[in-house]
Structure formats: C-alpha cells, structure tokens
Amino acid sequence: MTDQPFSIDRDTLLDAYRTMKTIREFEERLHVDVARGDIPGFVHLYAGEEAAATAIMLHLGESDRIASTHRGHGHCIAKGVDVKEMMGEIRGKASGACKGKGGSMHIADLSKGMMGANGILGAGAPLACGAALAAKRRGDGGVAISFVGDGASNQGMFLESLNLAAVWNLPVIFVVENNGYAESTAMEWAVACDSYVDRASGFGMPGVTVDGTDFFAVYEAAGEVIRRAREGGGPSLLECKMYRFYGHFEGDAQTYRAEGEVENLRENHDCIKIFRAAVTGAGAVDPADLNAIDAEALALINEAVAHAAAAPMPGPEDLETDVYISYA
C-alpha cells in the first residue's frame, strides 16, 4: 500500500491487532469459564485495556524486561508468553507456565523478559529498577517497564522507586495504567495530585499522559520515552488513561459503577474497535484481513483451553520441589 497513513507498517498493524484480539478472546473466555466454575482462585481481567500493553510491548525486545501487576494476562500475551502455558497455569495444571504453582497472579516467563504478574500492588516497581540496573551495567541499551495501576501508584515502594530510578538514572519506564478504579475506589478520590505529570515532575522525570484506548497515541508516547531510556536519558512516567470492562476481579458485582457505565465503555471506548475503525477507515488494512485474525485468535484460545483442560494436575511429588535451587 503506497498511501500508508500511519508511521507503522501494515505487518506491524496486523501483529498489533492479533495481540489485542488474542488478549480480548483470552479474557472473554476466562470470564465465561470462571462463571462456569472451571477456574480456581482470583482472576483479574485486562479486557478493555489491550491497546496499552500491545503498543508498549511493540517497542521491546526479549531481553527488555517488564514487571507486571495482578491484572497481568495482557502484559504476558503482549510480551510473548505462550497462551497455552498461560491457560494451563490459570487452571493450576502441570502444563502451566509455572507448573501450576503460581496461578493467574504469578505468571512469569523470564526467558521472554516477563518478570511476573504480581499479587502485591506496587511491588514490581523496585524489581523493574533492578532489571534496569542490570541492563545499564550490561550497557546494551536494554530497558525495563514497570506496570502499575492507579491504585498502586500510591504505594510507598512505587514512589520510592521513582526517586531511586531518577537518582540512579535508570533506563526504566513507569507505566501507570489508570483505569479509574483501585478495586472499587475512584482514582479521582484516592490520588491526591491533579495529574501524574505533576507526580513525575516531583521526582525529576518527564511525565506523559495519553489516551490509553488510542493505540497510536500510546505507541508514539511509549516509543519516545523508551528511546530516551535506551539512550541514557533516564526514567519517565507514562500514564495511560483506560477502562476495564469487567470488575476488579471476576465475581465483583461492580455496584460502585454508574448505571450504564460498562455498556457505554464497550460501545464508545473499546480500544480494539477504535483501532479497527482507524486502520480500516484509512485504508491501511483490509477488513477481511482483520476478520481472518479474529477467527485465528478465537481458534487459538479454544485450542489453549482444550489443551489446558486435558492437561494433568501437578502430583503430590511436586508439592515440595522448587523452593530452593540448592537445599544445603
């Protein structure tokens, strides 16, 4: 296509769409499977927020590291963690990414640079600083991304990490995924500053706020702060304003929401619909190609579920292994 209206080539656009749709299908399927009683434990869904993880991760290589959150499925998929292994892990199966020992809140694949979803809010920020320190010492231009929600952005360890990253000039980007709610509590009430840009400047680093439902806005802003970090310019904070389609966790009755709120989000603020309209409207991608990806994403998730459902549970012999590397 000669009149490509975006700075991103067609193949990358298709890849981005595939990632977003894979995350969406993964989460929509989990929503159904949790309700059916097929999934043990807590599950926090990323549906509605796909553009942020996808756009940011397009700028990263496997050696770049991310520290994720409790709402980590989207980060995992966008960073390249195998969806079959993810689905197995969420079902507690031996085939899981962590042999069933971690579950939804602890999916990790260090070989892909994914340092783990995290059940402790804000705990990933210091870890990302450490990964960034290692990258800085290697001198290979590597970066680390710390994902944090608007709720955990009030945690001491997150705020301490902003300061440490600035003092040590670390190649780390703090991405605040602001979906408006810390569990059931409104971000406007719980975050005392007017904007995250102010919070960033208080720690001596650039802060950028973007519409997290706009894939292209996130892609551009993330590209800028990641480039800056790779070139030795130090840390930045990137706030993505976004919406979650489901509750804090599956089973959340969401009585804190306004009436019609979710319906409005799905109708008017769906990042995948917005992406699709943009790329097809501009003639950059043929709708038929996107339809084909829709079918492939759904098939992939169906396959992952079938694989996970058929996989064995870990055995009693697995209970006490993997605590230490050496036991003496």
Partner: protein
C-alpha cells in the same frame, strides 16, 4: 597465610575478593561508600560502622550508595539478581526490615516456587543484628525466626571472623536469596582468617566444644557466652557439647540430634525473643525425633519476651549470659 582479623575486616575482605573474582557482584546500601554528592571526601563512611570502607575506591561504581529508601533498593537488588547480577545489598539494621519486607518475603523468597522453578535470585542481604550496643529497641533486635519461618530464604549467622568470611563468600556464590546476619557486638572480635578465598558450606554446624554430659545449641553472640558457661561447668565436672549452628536455614539438625542422642540433655540458647524462636524450633525437633534419648526436659535460655531495653543496667540482663546458661545446664543435669 592466616592473619588475626576482626569480623569487620573479614566481611570487608570477603566482599572485596568476591568483587574482584566475579564482575557480576555489586554492592549497594545506604552510606556504604558515604559522602556521595557531598562536598567532602569520597568513601567518607564505608558503612555506618566502616565495614565496607575502601570498597568503592577499589571497585568504583559497582559499590552503589543508595537513597534512604530500603523498599526501593532492596527490591532493586532482588530485580537485578533475577536479571544476571549478584547483588549484595546492605540493609543497615535488621530492624529496618519492616519497611522493605514485602520485597524479601513475597518476592525474593517466592520467585523460585511461584514461577515453577524457573527463577534464580542470587541476592545477599547483609544486616546488623543483636543487642549489647546500647542502641535500644529499634536497633538491637535479632528477628532471626521471622526469616527462618519463610521458605525460600536462606539465613546465615556467623559467630566469628573466620566463619563470617567463609559463609559470606558461600552466600554470594549461592543461587538462592540469603539473609546474612552480622552481630554488631562481634565486629571487633578477632580470629585467624586465611588470606585466600574459602567457603563454608551451609547446614554444617560447628561443634565448638565437645563434652558428653549436656548439649548446648546456639548461634551468634551467645556462642562465646555458651563456651564461657561450659568452661565454668567443666570445673564442676559437667562437660558440655557446644554447637554453633552457623546457618539457621538450612539448619544442621543431624549434628544436634547426634549430640543429644549421646548426652540426653539439651539447652537451647537464643538471643532472640523466645516465642517461636530458633531455640523453640530446635527443642521441638529434638523432642519429636529422639524423645526416647532425652534424660531430662529440654531447656531454653533466651531473651525475655520484651523489646530490647535501652538502659545498660537492663540491656545487660536482657541478653542471655554465661551464668544463666550454666544455671540451665545444671538444672538439666540434676534431673
């Protein structure tokens, strides 16, 4: 060749030699160099008690002063350990563990298991512990059982300079997270320390005195106090095995059980508070495993279940002394 070194010097030497041997080893902490960004001298402090003095001069930016921000830099040490470095982070006093504990017990300790055996976190967290320094309730605790309670952590507590060097080198080379205790009352005590690199394996207790009538099990500052008690008791005809555990996780229960099977009498000495302590743990294990070998009830000599007092008059009786240890041994032998 061995020199007579203080524990302070032995720890410094272990860090220096391991940094020279392995470029992945970095050292970080508050004021471990000291004077960073200030107009005066570089390496102004070398840690609050001078333990890391000179390391930044030799190893440059691999010795990193940190902001006063334990949660961030201990967490960063753990993140760096998962990313190819072997950080040794100094948390000045173990009493400060409260402000960064999540990164230790929910992150470092659990990565291996939670991630299905695919994570390695070779971090060492050094911290000062113990009473006798007139440092009061928030700078004098032991807190050892808090760490031994957590699967995934290794816990090391040397009682002398020789052990400190060998155990610290082993800790740095170990691929699991290690909490390395340094008793601040022991920093100036001297032993012969070899010049070269050597390691002391974990889970190998040191039988520092052999007796046969009773077994005293302890670690840290109370090792010497137990030896003093054993000397006194020997004059009364009571001969004691004194066992220095050296590592608390993993713990060498075999050596303890072997000794108690022979003596039939056990006194556990622990500077930590008594409830759920190392002393209580060793007592329970011995009772469960070899109850039939016991000739008397197990006794514990510990700190009282109070915070560490400031007044020297109170602090001196807070720490288990040789008199109390000897008295407990006499009671168990009398039964």
């Amino acid at each position: 060749m061995a020199r007579n070194l203080s524990m302070n010097e032995a720890v410094n030497e272990a860090l220096d030699q391991e940094m020279a041997r392995d470029p992945a080893v970095i050292v970080m902490g508050e004021d471990i160099s000291g004077g960073t960004g200030a107009p005066g001298e570089d390496d102004a402090w070398g840690g609050p008690l001078g333990v890391t003095k000179g390391l930044s001069v030799k190893h440059g930016d691999r010795v990193m002063d940190t902001p006063l921000s334990e949660s961030a830099f201990i967490g960063a040490a753990i993140g760096a350990a998962c990313s190819g470095l072997r950080p040794v982070a100094e948390l000045m006093f173990v009493d400060f563990m409260g402000v960064c504990f999540d990164e230790i017990f929910n992150q470092a300790a659990k990565f291996r298991y939670m991630f299905g055996g695919k994570a390695e976190t070779p971090v060492v967290i050094r911290c000062m512990a113990g009473a006798g320094f007139r440092a009061a309730a928030q700078h004098s605790q032991m807190l050892t059982p808090i760490f031994t309670h957590i699967p995934g952590l290794k816990v090391v507590f040397p009682s002398n300079a020789y052990d400190a060097k060998g155990l610290l080198i082993q800790s740095i080379r170990d691929n699991d997270p290690v909490i390395f205790f340094e008793h601040k009352n022991l920093y100036d005590t001297k032993t012969d320390v070899p010049e070269g690199l050597y390691t002391i394996p974990f889970a190998e207790a040191n039988v520092v005195r052999e007796g046969g009538d009773a077994t005293i099990v302890t670690y840290g500052q109370t090792v010497q106090r137990s030896l003093d008690a054993a000397s006194t008791l020997a004059k009364e005809g009571i001969e004691c095995d004194v066992i220095d555990l050296r590592t608390l996780s993993p713990i060498d229960m075999d050596t303890v059980l072997e000794s108690v099977e022979e003596t039939g009498r056990l006194v556990c000495v622990d500077e930590a508070n008594p409830r759920c302590s190392i002393a209580a743990d060793v007592s329970a294990t011995v009772t469960q495993e070899i109850f039939g070998s016991l000739k008397a009830g197990v006794r514990m000599v510990t700190a009282p279940h109070t915070p560490v007092p400031f007044s020297p008059a109170l602090e001196d009786i807070y720490i288990p002394g040789a008199d109390r240890i000897a008295s407990a041994v006499r009671q168990t032998v009398a039964n």
